[in-house]
Amino acid sequence: MRRYAKWLALVAVLALTAAACGGDDEGGETGPTGATGETGAEFQQGGTLNVWMDTDVTAAFDPQKEYFQVSFAFYRCCLLRTLLSYNGKGPDEQGDQLFPDLAASEPTVSDDELTWTFTLKQGIHYAPPLQDVEITAQDFIRAMMREATPEVAAGYGFYYSAIEGFDDYSAGKADTISGMTAVDDYTLEVKVTEPTGDLGYRMAMPAAAPIPPNPDDPEAPLGVAEGHNDDYGRFLVSSGPYMYEGSEAMDFSLPVKDQTPAAGYEPNKTLSLVRNPSWVESGQDDLRPAYLDAISVEICPGCDQEVAEKKVAADEIDHIFANGVSAANARMFSQDPNLQDQYFVEPGSGNYYIAMNVAVPPFDDVHVRKAVNFAVNKEGWRRLGGGETFGEIAGYFTPPGLLAGLLEGYDPYATPNSQGADTPEGLELAKAEMAQSKYDTDQDGICDAPECKAVLSVGVVGRVAEASDALIAQNLAAIGVELDVNSFDNSTAYNKIFDPKNQIPISTFGGWLQDYPDAFTFYFFPMYGPNILDAYNTNYSMAGADPDQLEKYGYEVTEVDQALDEKIEECIATTGEERTACWADADKVLMEQVVPIVPLIFSNVEQIISSRVANYTYSLFDNQMAYDQVALASGA
C-alpha cells in the first residue's frame, strides 16, 4: 500500500488543483463569465440547488397579484424576464442598476419626458408549451391590461396609473390602454401623463413581464391568462431561464376549466424549477448565467426553521429563503471556523422606525417629536434585536443605498453612541428640545401637560418586540411622555394602525422595504399626504394630511406640515443624479422639518448557505441570494 501512497497523493493534488481552477472532469461544461461584463471566475454548469422556504408566496405566483419580495426574487432570477432588469448582485456591483433584459438597449425618452420607446430583442421565445411563440411588444401591453383589469384584483396598479389611458381601461371607459402602442413587433411605445423618472423601474417589475397570446385563441385579450383571474400563477408561462417542471404539459387549447396547471408548483408544498429550453435556444441572456440545471424548493410554512438551518450546516439543503437566521444558529455559523464562509450579513433595502402621529397630541408639536428623536436609545433597541447584524443605526429615513451615500454621517438627532436619553448628554438634548414645546409649561424639559400622560402606543407581541417597547417607554418617560404600551399580534396591530380614524398616537413597529431601488417607493406611500387611505393606510404618521382629511378622520388638530408633500412632488419629476439629490433633500425635510418618525435602523439581511454553493451572490433588488448567479461546487 505504501508504494502507492505517492501516486495517490499526486492524484489528490492534481484533483485539488483542477477543482481550484473550477474545472469539472465529469461535467466538463463551464458557464459564462460575470453577468455585467466584469471578468469573473468560471463555474460549474448543472446540478440542483435545494432550497427551503418557511412561507409560500401570497398569490400562488400570479405576476399581476404578487406584491411580495419572495415572489419578486423568483420572478427576477428564474421565471420572468422584463424589458429592463437587474444583475442579481450587491451594492458594490451595480445591483441597484437597471440593465436591458428583453429590451435590446436602454429606452429612449422624448424631450418632454412623456414618451418612452423600448426596442425589443428579437428571436426570444417563451418556455414550453409555447416555445414557438416569440415575445413581442403586444405581450407587454397584454400584461398591463391584465394589471388594470378589476376582476384580476392586481396588487400594484397604482405604479402604472402614470401610463396614459391605464386608469380609463381599468374603469371600463376604454378597450385598450391608449398610452401603450406596439409600433411593430419589436417596438413598444409608452406614453405617460406626467414625467415619471422611474418608469424604467416600474417596467422592470413582474407585473410588466410579457404575457403570451394564446395561439389557439388569438382574440383572447389576456392571452393565455384569459379565464385565469384566480390562478394564472399556476399556469405561468416562463420567459426566464427556468420554468415550472411539467410546464410542457399545459394545454391552453382546452377550455379553461379543463386545463391542468404545471405539476412543478404545489402551493404551500413544493416548487420545482427546471431549465427552460427556449431560454437556452434563444441564446440565454446577458444578466443571468443560470448555472444550475434545476432548483428544488421545499415550502414548509410553520415548520421549525432551526431544524432547516441545521440541515444547511449539514449540506442537506443549500439555502433558506427566509427572514434572517435564528440567533442560536447565526452564532453557530458566525463562530464555527468550518461554517464562517457560509454566513453572510448583507445590507437590506429596508428600515425600521417609530411612527409618531403628527395630528395627535402631544406629537402634533414638532418639538416633542424632535425630543423623542433625541431620547430613543437606538443602540439599545438594536442590541435587543440582535446587535450589529440586525442593521446599521439610522440617522435618517431612506436606506443609504438609494441615496448614493449623499447623507452619509447625517444624523440631526445624534447622541453619544446613539444611546439617547440613556446618556446624560442625550437626555439634555432631548430635554432642551422638549423645553421648547407647548406641552412643557414650565420649560424644564419634562412634558407636564395631560396630553403626555397615558399616550397610547401600539406594538407587537414577542419577547424582543416587547422588550424594545419597554426600552422606548423608559426613554420617553425621561422627558415626561408616558406611554401606555399595548402589544398585539401582528395582524391586529396592523389593523389598528391601518385605520386613520383610530388616531393611534405612536406605533413602534414601523418598517418599510423598497419595491425597487428608487427612494420614491419610500416616500410616496408612508410619507405622502394625498396617499392617505381610509383603510389599509400606511402613512401611520398622517404626514402631509390636509385639513379635509383631518376632519374626515375626526382629528381635533386641523393642520399639519405639508412641506414634505411639495418636496416629494418635486422629486417625482426628476431623473438621474438630480433625482437622487432631490430625495436626499426630501429626507432632510422629513427629518428636520416634519419629523414624523424616529428612524431606528437600516436593516441587514442574514444569509446562510451550504458548502455546496460555489458562487454565492446577493441580489440587492430582492434582498436574497440570486439563484441565477449561483453555481454548485465541483462534485456537489
Binding site: T55, E151, P267, K269, V307, K311, S491, N531, L533
Partner: protein, 323 residues
C-alpha cells in the same frame, strides 16, 4: 343496529353543522387576521379592496357566507368540500386538492405512530399490572412519567439531533420530493416522527392499561374465573385485558382521529407536509376556506372514529348492546 346507525349518522351531521358554525364564527366573523390585507398589497385603492372582498365572497351578508361554506360540505352534486366554495385564498387551489395532497403524509404518520404506541404502551401496561410493585413495574412507570412529561417538540428535536445530525443513523427531517410517501416510509423518513409522537402516547397508554387492568383483576368475575381453575394467562388475557381495554379503545379512536386532523407540532419539527402543517399555515395566512376545510375534515374524522369505537365496544364488551 340499523336504527342506531341512522341515529348516529344524523348525530354526525348535526355535529358537523355545529362545528362549522363555531368555526365560521371564530375564524371568519371574529378573525384576528385580515385576508384582505394580505391580498391587496400596501397601497390598495378602495376599488381594489372592494374587488378582493367580492372575489373572496366577503362582501356578502354573513348568513350567505356561512351558507356557502355549509352547503359546500354537502357531497352532492360534487364531492365533500366543494371546490368552488372551498378555494384557498392563498394557494389559489381547491382546498380538497391541497388536503388530498397532504392526507397520505398524515395517514402515514398517524398509522405508524398509533401502531407504535400501542405496541409499546399496552405490553408495558400489562407487564406493570401483572408484576405490580416489581422493579419492572417501577421502571415502566418511570418511563411513563418521563414520556408523559416530555413535550413533543422537545422530544422531536432531541431525537432528530441525536439520531440524524449526530449519529447519522436515521434520515433527516422532511421528505424527498421525488418519491412517494410510501417510499419515504420504507426508507425510514417516518421513524423519528413516529417515535416522537408515539412516546408520549405510549407512556399514557401504559399507565391507562396498568390502572385499568389492576382494577379489572380485582373484579368478582375474575375471581370466579380463577376459582373455575382457568390458567392465569387466560384469566389475564381473555377476561381481564378484554374489559380493561374497552376505555383504551375509546381513547385510541379519538387519538387517531385527532391526529388524522393533523399532528401540528410533529409535522412542524420534522417538516412533514401533512394536514397539521396545512392547518397552521392556513391560520397564519387567514385563509378562511382552508381553515374551514381542514377543521371540518378533522371533525369528520373524530365523529366517524367515535362511531366506529362505539360499534367496536359491542365486540369487546358483551354487556354493550345497541338498540
Amino acid at each position: 343496529m340499523l336504527r342506531y346507525m341512522i341515529r348516529r349518522t344524523i348525530f354526525l351531521v348535526l355535529v358537523l353543522i355545529v362545528v362549522s358554525l363555531f368555526t365560521f364564527l371564530v375564524f371568519v366573523k371574529l378573525p384576528s387576521g385580515d385576508p384582505i390585507a394580505r391580498a391587496v398589497g400596501r397601497h390598495p385603492s378602495p376599488e381594489l379592496v372592494a374587488q378582493v372582498k367580492k372575489n373572496f365572497g366577503l362582501d356578502q351578508p354573513l348568513y350567505v357566507q356561512y351558507w356557502k361554506f355549509a352547503s359546500g360540505m354537502i357531497p352532492w352534486p360534487g364531492l365533500f368540500l366543494d371546490k368552488d366554495v372551498y378555494f384557498s385564498y392563498q394557494g389559489q387551489v381547491p382546498v380538497r386538492h391541497a388536503i388530498l395532497q397532504r392526507l397520505p403524509v398524515t395517514i402515514a404518520l398517524t398509522v405508524g405512530a398509533a401502531a407504535l404506541w400501542l405496541l409499546i404502551g399496552i405490553p408495558i401496561g400489562i407487564v406493570s399490572a401483572v408484576k405490580r410493585g416489581s422493579l419492572l413495574d417501577r421502571s415502566a412507570m418511570i418511563f411513563a412519567l418521563v414520556g408523559v412529561s416530555a413535550p413533543t417538540f422537545w422530544l422531536g428535536l432531541l431525537l432528530l439531533y441525536v439520531f440524524h445530525f449526530w449519529l447519522g443513523w436515521l434520515p433527516t427531517a422532511g421528505l424527498p420530493q421525488d418519491q412517494s410517501v410510501l417510499q419515504s416510509v420504507f426508507e425510514g423518513y417516518f421513524v423519528l416522527p413516529w417515535f416522537s409522537l408515539a412516546i408520549t402516547s405510549a407512556a399514557f397508554y401504559s399507565r391507562m392499561t396498568r390502572g385499568n387492568l389492576i382494577e379489572t383483576m380485582g373484579e368478582d368475575y375474575i375471581r370466579t374465573a380463577r376459582a373455575k381453575g382457568l390458567a392465569e394467562n387466560k384469566v389475564i388475557y381473555r377476561h381481564g385485558l378484554r374489559a380493561a381495554l374497552t376505555p383504551i379503545v375509546t381513547m385510541f379512536g379519538m387519538d387517531v382521529a385527532f391526529l388524522l386532523g393533523g399532528a401540528v407540532i410533529t409535522e412542524s419539527v420534522f417538516q412533514l407536509p401533512g394536514l397539521g402543517q396545512y392547518a397552521l399555515n392556513s391560520l397564519y395566512a387567514t385563509d378562511f376556506p382552508a381553515i374551514m376545510g381542514v377543521t371540518m375534515l378533522a371533525t369528520f374524522f373524530i365523529v366517524v372514529a367515535n362511531f366506529l369505537v362505539d360499534i367496536l365496544y359491542a365486540f369487546l364488551d358483551p354487556r354493550v348492546r345497541y338498540t
